[in-house]
């Protein structure tokens, strides 16, 4: 996996779209998470909860899209130090999700350059689903 050079504050380093969240994937994650909440697989329960007519993606899964694109940019999963997200809106099956990250600070640490990022996930054509902050270390780089 290629590693990025050290970015500058204000650089947008992640700009990606996850196309068409799939029912099958939401159901697979319900099993992996041991998540019994029926809004992820039972459309009658979704309707009863007033959440529309499509299965609702797990908040952790939408957060995972963000984490994945951040570590892909940073050179791998080992680069992640932290990610802190607040959940502001739901993502449903069929939605496209735009994932973004902008550099807010760069500091030298013992093992490289630590980069702080403002991160988010938006439903394309809809509202913000997730907003947060991530920190990664670009190993061996100088700030």
């Amino acid at each position: 996996m290629s590693r990025p050079g050290v970015p500058a504050v204000g650089d947008r380093v992640v700009d990606a779209v996850v196309r068409g969240v799939r029912d099958d994937d939401i159901q697979a994650m319900a099993l992996v998470l041991r998540d019994p909440n029926p809004i992820h697989f039972d459309l009658a329960a979704v309707a009863r909860a007033g959440l529309g007519d499509r299965a609702v993606n797990q908040g952790g899964s939408t957060m995972a899209y963000v984490a994945d694109h951040v570590v892909a940019w940073a050179g791998g999963r080992r680069a992640l130090r932290s990610i802190d997200c607040s959940f502001r809106g739901s993502v449903s099956a069929g939605d496209d999700v735009e994932v973004g990250a902008v550099v807010t600070s760069v500091e030298q640490v013992a093992d490289g350059a630590e980069v702080e990022l403002e991160v988010w996930a938006d439903v394309v054509g809809g509202r913000r689903a997730i907003a947060g902050v991530a920190r990664v270390v670009l190993a061996g780089e100088s700030a």
């Binding site: 996996m1 996850v18 099958d24 994937d25 939401i26 697979a28 994650m29 992996v32 998470l33 041991r34 998540d35 019994p36 909440n37 908040g59 952790g60 899964s61 957060m63 995972a64 899209y65 984490a67 994945d68 694109h69 570590v71 892909a72 791998g76 999963r77 080992r78 992640l80 130090r81 932290s82 990610i83 802190d84 997200c85 607040s86 959940f87």
Partner: protein
Amino acid sequence: MTIPIEAMRDEIGGRRLPGGTITVEPHEAFIADRALRSTVEDPADAHPTWFVIASLRCLGITVEELCALAHQGPDDTLLFGRCRIDQREPLRVGGTYEAAATIREVATRSMRDGTRLDSVEVEVVLHGGTESRVEAGSVTSVYLFKRGDR
């Protein structure tokens, strides 16, 4: 009637939950990578979301039992408010981890429409993956209880 926040704080703030153990099974890591549309191919280091998976699977109580601890009423709505992963080391595919779970902060605030919104913060710390049983990281989750009776 919703429990007063001071009483709930005294009752569950700082409470240690049973915790648990999780193994990042290779087949589940493979399935999760695809379900999460991972763009990173790494057969050794697990997707960071495995911290979240571990935090849900290793509380030692069910989400329903957590709701009961927060005195969730029939008109209250549970929301997942916030999640923070602190990763010291990626979880290893095939690795086994012990989880210690603790209820940290219990707080409340009022929404614009006057609805009471209580929050319960749960921290899960993971150790293991190697023989040295070092801390791999932690997950802090904030569960929100939107109270139906103001």
